[in-house]
């Protein structure tokens, strides 16, 4: 029998399939774990509606908990409140940067977002230069934008705040 605390601990080692340096708990998508009559209930919220990793994540969560000793695991999806990059834990932000992804800028909840020509000035995660430019609002996954450093000429990604 796995306790709720043990379950949380177990999920700290389940990586996000697309950004394997951070775990699903660090990403802030595991919202709730509860012991029910039908085994462990894990509530997960998707990052983006069409994120193809969502089903892989549910599968890895189930497998990790079963392996850790849970008798039965039910992964539920909850949409509201919608996931925000504010839920990424501080420690994970530094891991992202070390991995070459600039972590999302903090923003106050529900603050209006500038709609167009919003070009946050980013520091290159490789060489630290401020002389960078955005190539596209979208990157290798929906959650990231593509940038280029004009000093070291390397491309990098930015985890978009939502």
């Amino acid at each position: 029998m796995l306790t709720v605390a043990q379950a949380w601990k177990t999920l700290e080692d389940v990586p996000d399939p697309e950004i394997p340096v951070i775990s699903v708990t660090e990403l802030g998508i595991v919202r709730e774990i509860e012991v029910t009559e039908n085994g462990l209930k894990v509530v997960v919220t998707p990052t983006y509606s069409g994120c193809p990793a969502t089903e892989v994540i549910a599968q890895s969560i189930r497998e990790a908990l079963l392996e850790a000793g849970a008798a039965q695991v039910n992964v539920e999806t909850r949409l509201s409140p919608a996931w925000t990059t504010d839920w990424i834990v501080p420690a994970a932000r530094e891991k992202l940067r070390a991995y070459g992804i600039v972590p999302p800028g903090e923003r106050a909840a529900n603050a209006p977002q500038p709609l167009r020509f919003h070009r946050p000035r980013l520091r290159c995660p490789r060489c630290g230069s401020d002389d960078t430019e955005r190539l596209s609002e979208f990157g290798s996954t929906a959650c990231k934008a593509t940038y280029r450093c004009k000093t070291c000429l390397e491309p990098f990604e930015y985890f978009k705040p939502i």
Partner: protein, 252 residues
């Protein structure tokens, strides 16, 4: 009170828009002019299909006849789709794709902003999720419309042609649909005409910035949201439904 059928149809309209435009945008995968745009278009297609899955699941639950997202997406016939005609039009070129995305995502942002306060809690949750994505679609496509419109002679020409071609179809966004007053009264979502003024107020200044001329309104009407589609819809469905029609109930 809105009837269950009116409620279902309302959600279906929103879900079908996302589904059909998502299908269209996915056609760009591997064909966009630059790699960054290839990824951007595929990402936006994914967002829309993700939104469509949630909305069609909701519509199926409201309908109560046991149809899930897959049955609704892949096993209806043309006349039962409720998407705006604009969403089903072929991509044509990059300019038309971007202008359409801008016109539609601006509408979508306004609609979703209203739906987050819906009395249908599930619809409100879906809208809250989708709105964050739609804002990026609007920002991205708006940037492109300006860049192309105020770009080279060739890009300006093509973008103006795209706007001239697409503009008449935008009248359908705001055309009244049966039951919308009941939907609005029940607090489920806005009647379509309620979004028109804000939409026009956003679109016109951007077109000025893009040095494009918005064509005058004409009596032209399209009726996709009532199930009367253009000649392009059947072709799109033939591609989209192929797997489910050939191998019924197939699973990945």
């Amino acid at each position: 009170m809105a009837t269950n059928q009116e409620h279902t149809e309302y959600v279906l309209r929103i879900g079908d828009n996302a589904l059909i435009l998502g299908q269209r945008l996915s056609e760009w995968c591997g064909h966009a002019p630059v790699l960054e745009e290839d990824m951007a278009l595929a990402n936006m297609a994914l967002d829309l299909i993700g939104q469509a899955r949630m909305l069609l699941t909701r519509a199926g639950a409201l309908e109560g006849e046991g149809r899930d997202e897959d049955r609704l997406a892949f096993l209806r016939t043309e006349g039962h789709y409720r998407n705006l005609t604009l969403c089903e039009l072929p991509n044509h070129d990059f300019a038309r794709t971007k202008v359409r995305n801008y016109l539609f995502s601006t509408f979508q942002v306004l609609l979703l902003s209203r739906l987050v306060g819906s009395t249908d809690a599930e619809l409100a949750a879906i809208a809250g999720k989708s709105l964050k994505e739609a804002r990026y679609h609007q920002q991205h496509s708006g940037d492109w419309v300006i860049r192309l419109g105020d770009g080279t002679e060739e890009s300006h020409r093509r973008t103006q042609e795209a706007l001239d071609y697409l503009w008449p179809y935008t009248a359908e966004f705001f055309a009244p649909a049966p039951g919308e007053d009941a939907i609005a009264a029940a607090g489920i979502g806005p009647a379509w005409h309620e979004l028109e003024q804000s939409w026009e107020a956003q679109v016109h200044p951007l077109m000025v910035e893009a040095t494009l001329t918005v064509p005058p309104r004409t009596p032209f009407k399209s009726y996709g949201k009532f199930g009367r589609h253009s000649e392009h819809m059947g072709h799109l469905l033939a591609t989209m439904q192929y797997m489910q029609r050939t191998y019924p109930d197939t699973q990945w």
